[in-house]
């Protein structure tokens, strides 16, 4: 018990004190009541101060008000360091986010451009049907008088005018397509053609129609043949079918290039 008496004076409330008289004389009863009132007052004061202190601790502003200067400096330094750390973390995350965003954007761009390129090549190769603005040329030729040269001329004229996808009697024309004449019948890529020949072309309708109808052009040449008549019809929507089977590549290989597609 001696160790905890170091701070105390002789007012130790616990031990070592003589007990209060168990039954005070009646003349001291008033003092006794007063003493009890003082004890109660002290206890009430403690409760009051306890609540005040708890409230002050809960309130950050009041708590800071009560701190000593060196403690305030320490708190400020801690908070500054924390702010710096969080700020740099924020910046880092922001950079990461930007990097991810730009990567995603680039990938989306690249994917879109590749998809577009793939679509164009598919149309060129004729492996997919194509649709869009275009014209339909109908060549009526009951006597089968139209030669392969005339047909090739008409096709070339259309390509020159910007045709992107072509078909004759629903046979898709591609880069390797060829017209030949066999036993008096026009044959394209092995498919015999019977009149009337219907040439479907996806492309700038107005330009292609004008290109066919210029004096001395494809229409004039075709109609100079006996019994042949042509109609050119512009359409807002025309569909060209896909090629029945893709062209096999056996001999050709792409030459590698350093640049990407």
């Amino acid at each position: 018990m001696d160790t905890r008496d170091a701070l105390e004076t002789s007012t130790e409330p616990v031990g070592g004190e003589p007990a209060a008289p168990p039954a005070p004389p009646p003349s001291r009863s008033l003092r006794h009541v007063l003493a009890q009132a003082a004890v109660a007052l002290a206890c009430a004061l403690l409760g009051f101060l306890l609540v005040a202190q708890v409230r002050a601790t809960e309130n950050l502003g009041e708590r800071l008000e009560g701190e000593r200067e060196e403690d305030l400096a320490q708190i400020l330094a801690d908070l500054s360091a924390q702010t710096d750390r969080l700020q740099s973390e924020y910046t880092e995350l922001q950079l990461t986010l930007l990097a991810f965003e730009s990567t995603a954007e680039n990938e989306a761009l690249a994917r879109r451009s590749l998809q577009r390129r793939l679509d164009e090549l598919r149309i060129l190769a004729g492996v997919v049907p194509a649709e869009g603005e275009g014209i339909m040329v109908t060549v009526t030729d009951p006597g089968r008088a139209v030669t392969q040269e005339l047909m090739v001329d008409a096709i070339q004229e259309l390509r020159d005018a910007g045709a992107e996808a072509l078909a004759v009697n629903d046979v898709r024309l591609v880069a390797s397509s060829a017209f030949v004449t066999r036993n008096g019948r026009l044959v394209v890529d092995g498919q015999p053609l019977d009149p009337p020949y219907r040439i479907a072309a996806v492309g700038p309708a107005d330009t292609m129609a004008k290109a066919l109808e210029i004096p001395g052009g494809a229409v004039d040449s075709l109609e100079s043949v006996t019994g042949v008549s042509t109609t050119v019809e512009q359409r807002a929507q025309i569909t060209v079918p896909a090629r029945a089977e893709p062209v096999p590549f056996v001999f050709g290989d792409p030459v590698p290039s350093d640049q990407g597609p």
Binding site: R4, A6, L7, T9, T11, E12, P13, V14, G15, E17, P18, A19, A20, H32, A35, Q36, A38, V39, A40, L41, A42, C43, A44, L45, L46, G47, F48, L49, L50, V51, A52, Q53, R55, A56, N59, E62, R63, E65, G66, E67, R68, E70, D71
Partner: protein, 110 residues
């Protein structure tokens, strides 16, 4: 019983009045509260020992609080205020634990 009711009444009063601690008192209120707590627990123990005296309790209460506040004030003047308030809280904390242990032995006989 009366002191306990008074304690609760004081706490209730604090809750109702919502006092704010003035700035110059703020460093001293915590140690004052801890010192007063020590006096109250000491009184509780003395009561259970059968040695409680109002005079001793009041003197102990006042001197505990005044001494604790004075020590911390002195520490502030010597710029060891926070260390000394820690010391005061530790000393009173140990005493409160000892008093509570004595109270426990009385109440639970263990």
């Amino acid at each position: 019983m009366i002191p306990l009711i008074a304690l609760l009444l004081g706490a209730l009063l604090g809750l109702v009045l919502q006092p704010s601690v003035p700035g110059f008192l703020a460093p001293y209120l915590p140690v004052a509260v801890v010192a007063a707590l020590d006096a109250v627990f000491g009184g509780l123990r003395a009561r259970l020992d059968g040695t409680f005296s109002e005079r001793v309790f009041l003197v102990s209460f006042l001197t505990n609080v005044i001494l604790a506040v004075f020590l911390v004030y002195l520490g502030d003047q010597l710029s060891v205020g926070s260390e000394l308030s820690t010391a005061v809280v530790v000393v009173f904390g140990v005493r409160i634990f000892q008093n509570l242990a004595a109270v426990r032995r009385h109440l639970f006989r263990a």
